[in-house]
């Protein structure tokens, strides 16, 4: 099992240090040349920046929406069956294959689509926009889609966490005169903290791996505005057949994930 992970990683590092792997029968060792090459590439810089914006905005929104929905679902004011129905609806976006999410939102965000209709008819914008083709809007649009399909994972874990908080804590707080807002910040958040940190780190890792959504909505365009490290790497390898440069880029992506994974593992250890 470990071999199936370690071997490919070793291979990709080895590829990145050579010239013309896979396409060339006898590749030459070129050291760090490919790393210098991509570090000097403006497109790589754009991808790095877009990935940071995409990931941070998505994860922050996943956390806020996931927590809000989890708290709504955790209410004791409504019967169980009502909550089950709403929970099923809330999980729906996460059950759809990302490829399907991408096609569905291309329909919704179409210039003639229902999203533009709603915004124009409520007066929020004056004319329909090309959400996925406008260089100034495309990154916002893919973040919006990613928020929609990614929050349920947070929600489910936070809901499990909320159900684990003892009601005695809240009762003690209200006896001490704490209102709902005070209780939220003094009880709910501290109690959920371990789950919030774990889920945030995992979501940072996973969102930074997002490929399908971008590939099927914008393909990284327009003008590289939605190019992420994953699509940048994929294009190097499978559009331009520069497998060595792609491997170097893939190693950079790996290092970023490894740093986050290290933080995640340390946090899990501290929890145990």
């Amino acid at each position: 099992m470990a071999v199936l992970m370690a071997l490919p990683i070793g291979m990709v590092v080895w590829f990145s240090l050579q010239n013309n792997v896979i396409t060339n029968a006898s590749p030459q060792f070129v050291g760090l040349e490919h790393y210098l090459e991509i570090f000097a590439d403006a497109q790589f810089h754009a991808a790095l920046k877009n990935t940071a914006v995409f990931v941070l905005a998505s994860v922050a929104a996943h956390l806020v929406i996931g927590l809000a929905f989890a708290m709504l679902l955790n209410t004791r004011l409504l019967p169980h069956w009502v909550k089950t129905i709403f929970r099923t609806i809330f999980v729906l976006p996460w059950l759809l294959t990302v490829a399907i999410v991408a096609v569905l939102w291309r329909l919704i965000l179409n210039p003639n689509g229902v999203f533009n209709y709603l915004l124009v008819s409520t007066g929020l914008i004056d004319a329909p926009r090309e959400w996925l083709a406008d260089p100034n809007l495309a990154l916002f649009a893919v973040v919006l889609i990613n928020i929609w399909c990614g929050y349920p994972f947070f929600m489910i874990s936070l809901l499990a966490g909320l159900q684990g908080i003892s009601a005695d804590l809240y009762e003690a707080a209200s006896v001490d005169g704490a209102g709902p807002i005070r209780a939220f910040f003094s009880i709910t958040i501290p109690q959920l903290r371990p789950i919030i940190i774990s889920m945030t780190l995992l979501d940072l890792i996973w969102t930074s791996h997002q490929f399908t959504l971008i590939w099927m909505t914008t393909g990284g365009g327009p003008l590289d505005r939605t190019e992420l490290l994953s699509t940048y790497t994929y294009k190097l390898a499978f559009s331009q057949y520069m497998f060595s440069a792609a491997s170097a880029s893939a190693v950079v992506v790996l290092v970023i994930s490894a740093v986050l994974a290290f933080a995640y593992v340390r946090h899990q250890r501290a929890r145990d």
């Binding site: 490919p8 809000a68 709403f86 099923t88 759809l96 569905l104 789950i195 490929f211 992506v253 994974a261």
Partner: protein
């Protein structure tokens, strides 16, 4: 939850004053209304796009962008579904997805059950390796593995074949499955299989005759989780297959997008058909599903 506690305590304090109890009931009603309003707004956010997909899949293609938008149009019918179901190329995508996903789920379970039994019942020097493998699967970017796997799959002659996809997916599903099944076996008392072994059954027999029948709920949850991973996968399916007879549904939907001049109704019909297996699994086995999700991510 907070509001309830507050209401309850004030109710207890003010029990002697019936006039104020009315206002407590009133406050409770307001809290219920606010919660319901929040839930409905959330349901619109989550559910409206899905509803739009379903209703669009029934429209005639020229009606897709009708102005103003309508849920049900004059020519709404099942025709887009019939078009997909009568097209052998599209059906092949579904067949491929089912073959690959069911094979991944079945084979993963078969391997995971045996590995988990060993991990749960015997002391193993390599136990911590499986934890490392699980974290690696969560953390290593698929794009990083894609290039070497592409090289390996081509070198092994598995490019554009079912086994190439199935084996690749199992690398991702097995660590989860083993961890989840080990956790499940750990909750089953050792006395069960030890009693069987005293009666002369082999350890293999004890697993199959005693443990597996009572581990069905755990296996259902692992099976669904792996099925879903395989069913939804896109990047490796895109790269490791080349011809239509090996493509899976997520790629098929993309091909539908490029090929015709955007038959949105058929694309939506295919999306609905492609979403159904996972949504139905979720609705029928919600409890296992959520247990699997949380144990797969947070608890390991």
């Amino acid at each position: 939850m907070t509001t309830t506690t507050v209401t309850r305590t004030s109710a207890a304090v003010e029990q002697s004053r019936p006039r104020r109890q009315l206002s407590t009931a009133g406050r409770r009603r307001i809290a219920v209304a606010l919660t319901l309003a929040g839930l409905i707004v959330g349901a619109l956010f989550a559910g409206a796009p899905v509803l739009w997909m379903v209703f669009s899949s029934l429209k005639a293609n020229p009606e897709i962008f009708a102005y103003p938008p309508q849920l049900i149009t004059e020519n709404s019918s099942l025709a887009p579904y019939l078009a997909i179901l009568n097209d052998s190329r599209q059906l092949r995508f579904f067949l491929n997805s089912y073959v690959v996903s069911l094979a991944v789920a079945g084979l993963t379970l078969l391997v995971a059950v045996h590995a988990a039994y060993a991990f749960s019942r015997y002391d193993f020097p390599g136990k911590s390796i499986i934890n490392i493998a699980v974290i690696s699967v969560q953390a290593v970017p698929p794009i990083t593995l894609l290039i070497p796997y592409f090289g390996l799959v081509v070198a092994l002659g598995l490019y554009n074949t079912y086994p190439g996809l199935i084996l690749t997916y199992m690398v991702f599903t097995l660590p989860y499955a083993i961890i989840m099944m080990t956790g499940y076996f750990n909750t089953l008392p050792r006395e069960l299989d030890e009693a069987a072994r005293v009666d002369g059954t082999s350890s293999f027999g004890a697993l199959w005759r005693i443990l597996i029948p009572i581990a069905i709920p755990g296996m259902v949850s692992v099976g669904m989780y792996t099925f879903m991973i395989a069913w939804n996968e896109y990047l490796f399916a895109l790269t490791l297959t080349r011809t239509d007879d090996m493509r899976t549904v997520p790629i098929g939907i993309q091909l539908l997008m490029g090929q015709h001049s955007y038959d949105w109704n058929q694309m939506m019909a295919m999306s609905v058909l492609g979403s159904l297996p996972v949504i139905l699994l979720f609705i029928f086995f919600q409890r296992y599903f959520i247990g699997g999700m949380t144990s797969g991510s947070v608890k390991n």
